[in-house]
C-alpha cells in the first residue's frame, strides 16, 4: 500500500520540478521549492515505513522543521532587494 502512495508522491515531485523549471515569475519557483520540500518529508516518512524501520522518522522530522527556513530566507532576500530598489527610486 505504501508503494502506491510513494509512487504518487514521486510523480508529484516530478510535476513540482517541472513547475520549478518553467515557472515564469520567481515566486512560482519558490512555491515549487516549498511543494518539493513538503513532498520530500512525505516521501521519507512513507519510505521509512516501507523499509520497516520507523525509527528513521527523525529525518522527516528534521526536514519538517527546517524547510521553512529556506523559504523565509528567500522572502527576506526579496524584501531587502525591494527595499533597496525603493531607496534607489526615492533618492
Amino acid at each position: 500500500m505504501y508503494i502506491v502512495v510513494s509512487i504518487a508522491i514521486l510523480v508529484t515531485m516530478v510535476l513540482a520540478l517541472v513547475r520549478a523549471l518553467l515557472g515564469p515569475t520567481v515566486y512560482d519557483r519558490v512555491l515549487a521549492v516549498n511543494v518539493f520540500g513538503t513532498k520530500t518529508v512525505l516521501l521519507l516518512s512513507v519510505i521509512a515505513f516501507l523499509y520497516g524501520r520507523p525509527d528513521f522518522l527523525d529525518l522527516a522530522l528534521a526536514y519538517a522543521l527546517i524547510n521553512v527556513v529556506g523559504i523565509l530566507a528567500v522572502l527576506e532576500f526579496f524584501q531587502d532587494r525591494f527595499r533597496k530598489q525603493e531607496r534607489v527610486d526615492s533618492d
Binding site: 500500500m1 505504501y2 502506491v4 502512495v5 509512487i7 504518487a8 508522491i9 510523480v11 508529484t12 515531485m13 516530478v14 510535476l15 513540482a16 517541472v18 513547475r19 515557472g23 515564469p24 515569475t25 520567481v26 515566486y27 512560482d28 519557483r29 519558490v30 512555491l31 515549487a32 516549498n34 511543494v35 513538503t38 513532498k39 518529508v41 512525505l42 516518512s45 512513507v46 515505513f49 520507523p54 525509527d55 522518522l57 527523525d58 522527516a60 522530522l61 519538517a64 522543521l65 524547510n67 521553512v68 523559504i71 523565509l72 522572502l75 526579496f78 524584501q79 532587494r81 525591494f82
Partner: protein, 113 residues
C-alpha cells in the same frame, strides 16, 4: 477483526492522501497564474499531510513511531500554511497583481520579480 478494520481504514486514508497529493501537483502545473497555483499547491499539501499521516499512525498503533508521526504532522501543518502565507504576501507586496478575469499572467518573463 479490529486489525482488518484498521488496515482497511488506513489503506483508504493513504489512497485518498496519495490522490490529494497528485491533484495538488497537477493543479500546480496547469493553472494559469501564480495566485491560482498557490491555491492548488498549498491546500492539497495540508490535506494530504493530514490524510497520509493519520493513515500511517493507524498502522503503527501505540508506539514511539506514532508520537514521531504526530510531531511531523503537527509541524508540517504549522509551517506549511505559514510559508504559503509569507510567499503570497511577498508576491503581492512586490507588485505581482492577481489577475482579474484575463487569466494570462502579466509578468511574462521573470526579470521583474
Amino acid at each position: 477483526m479490529i486489525e482488518l478494520a484498521l488496515d482497511v481504514v488506513s489503506w483508504v486514508l493513504l489512497a485518498v492522501g496519495g490522490a490529494c497529493v497528485l491533484i495538488g501537483g497537477i493543479g500546480g502545473l496547469r493553472l494559469p497564474n501564480f495566485y491560482t497555483r498557490i491555491h492548488a499547491a498549498s491546500l492539497t499539501d495540508t490535506m494530504a499531510t493530514l490524510l497520509i499521516f493519520v493513515g500511517m499512525m493507524l498502522q503503527s498503533g501505540l508506539s514511539l513511531a506514532t508520537l514521531k508521526l504526530f510531531a511531523i504532522m503537527l509541524f508540517l501543518l504549522l509551517t506549511g500554511p505559514t510559508a504559503t502565507y509569507a510567499l503570497a504576501n511577498a508576491a503581492l507586496l512586490s507588485g505581482l497583481k492577481p489577475e482579474g478575469d484575463t487569466g494570462q499572467s502579466k509578468h511574462g518573463e521573470n526579470t521583474q520579480p
